[in-house]
């Protein structure tokens, strides 16, 4: 594994989610994975975005209040949710047909690692005793199917290991499909020629970010603080 790196102070998860909400244009169909991605739905009031749930639903609404809970209406993380006007229900098979068929304009997923070629690993941690078995869920299908794939994650693990690497060391979810990485420290675009650093957390510099990122970053001439 890589050696322990310096810990920088970044933005909290709620603001990572806000930054991502700003990345989804009006008129989009989007899918949010479980974990940090679900926080994106807290920032879309008044926006013309339709969220799809892999379980088989379009136009999911916010999490249900206790009195609204309906055991027949959950999201992929088994949380009770609500529906918005114009919602529709269909089978899981139909859901993955539209995901694989390229109808998700944006997917937002968490991950453990991302590589400079846009590979990502998010379903299995080696050494957890689980061998080759893990909860893949819809992540592999979403990875290959989404028109734009945004990965959201902490920049560095709790043990101080880098998560943006030349090559992923954890079992892959999908290859060459990540378009944007949003972390607590930076926003990085994945291009044909490698990773481009476009935004940094307040108070941090490109040199700081490079010190916690394994592949060489191209620094954008328009580098700014993370825009919220």
């Amino acid at each position: 594994m890589t050696t322990e790196v310096k810990r920088f102070e970044g933005i909290p998860r709620e603001l990572m989610a806000l930054r991502i909400a700003n990345e989804i244009p009006d008129g989009s169909y989007a899918n949010l994975g479980i974990g940090i991605p679900t926080l994106v739905s807290n920032w879309v009031e008044g926006r013309d975005i339709v969220f799809e749930s892999e379980i088989g639903m379009l136009n999911t609404g916010p999490l249900a209040e206790p009195e609204e809970e309906d055991a027949d209406l959950i999201n992929a993380g088994c949380q009770p949710i609500t529906e918005l006007p114009g919602a529709c229900y269909f089978s899981d098979c139909e859901s993955f047909a539209m995901i694989r068929g390229g109808y998700m304009d944006v997917a937002v997923l968490g991950a453990f690692q991302v590589s400079e070629k846009g590979d990502f690993a998010g379903w299995n941690i080696p050494g957890s005793g689980r061998g080759d078995i893990g909860g893949i869920g819809g992540s592999m299908d979403l990875g290959v199917g989404a028109k734009k794939l945004i990965i959201v994650m902490e920049h560095v693990t709790n043990n101080g290991e880098m998560r943006i690497l030349k090559e992923c060391t954890y079992p892959l979810t999908a290859k060459s499909c990540v378009d944007l990485i949003v972390t607590d420290l930076a926003v990085i675009k994945v291009e044909e020629d490698g990773l481009h650093l476009i935004e940094v957390a307040p108070g941090l510099t490109a040199v700081d970010i490079q010190s916690v990122t394994e592949p060489v970053l191209s620094v954008s001439p328009d580098l700014t603080e993370i825009e919220l």
Partner: protein
């Protein structure tokens, strides 16, 4: 044509040892818990289960595991999300008491759809370059690589539905639909536990989710109260 059974236990009475059984539901939602419990009582052994979760959310599956009725699971989300919480299935897997094959969700359900639709195999981009691709043929179409996946045909499917008529036409409610329709279509014998059975002709022909041709047995069950959570 009348596919209604009076008792739950009758619907599963002929499931033999070594049967391949698909079980619908997505965690706690649309889960055929009453049929699973009936299968546990019936006691068929050496089952291969095809289901999303192995006892997390669909807690009745643990009765089959405790009874040592399961030899293999083909599933999608087999463990608790956190590696620090170990389910019964995970314990059994680590002990070598049960086998497990995990499948990406889209591939899992498309394999079942294909079986019900007479398609023996298909190509998908999902899993290319991952452990899912191990041992599988690949082919290039339009410059991109795809994996060959084969249809998955269960002997039986246990599904949960909202309403059915005696001919087996079924409607589901909201996200309780999930895997249920394609599992019914794939299986040789589809058994549906249903919250309400209506008269033939009561269901709007324009709004049937699962045509009765795919359903062999229906039984009315009371709607279970569930806690909507995958933390037990």
């Amino acid at each position: 044509m009348n596919k209604i059974y009076e008792s739950v236990s009758e619907t599963v009475a002929d499931i033999p040892d070594n049967a391949v059984v698909a079980i619908g539901g997505f965690f706690t939602c649309g889960n055929p818990g009453t049929l699973i419990d009936a299968l546990a009582v019936h006691g068929a052994k050496k089952l291969t289960l095809i289901t999303q979760s192995m006892g997390v959310g669909n807690w009745e599956i643990n009765h089959l595991l405790e009874n040592k009725q399961v030899s293999k699971a083909i599933c999608n989300y087999p463990f608790y999300r956190s590696a620090s919480k170990i389910s019964l299935f995970e314990k059994m897997l680590r002990n070598g008491d049960v086998e497990c094959e995990v499948s990406p969700m889209g591939t899992f359900i498309e394999r079942l759809r294909a079986a019900g639709a007479g398609i023996p195999a298909f190509y998908t981009p999902t899993g290319v370059g991952t452990v899912v691709a191990k041992g599988k043929e690949t082919r290039v179409f339009n410059g991109s690589e795809y994996l060959l996946e084969e249809a998955l045909k269960p002997d039986f499917a246990l599904i949960h539905a909202y309403k059915a008529d005696p001919m087996g036409n079924i409607i589901f409610r909201k996200t309780a639909q999930n895997y249920n329709p394609e599992m019914a279509k794939a299986a040789t014998v589809a058994i549906a536990e249903v919250e309400e059975i209506v008269e033939t002709g009561d269901l709007d022909p324009d709004c049937i989710h699962l045509p009765g041709i795919y359903v062999q047995r229906i039984v009315r069950v009371p709607r279970k109260d569930v806690v909507i959570s995958i933390d037990d």
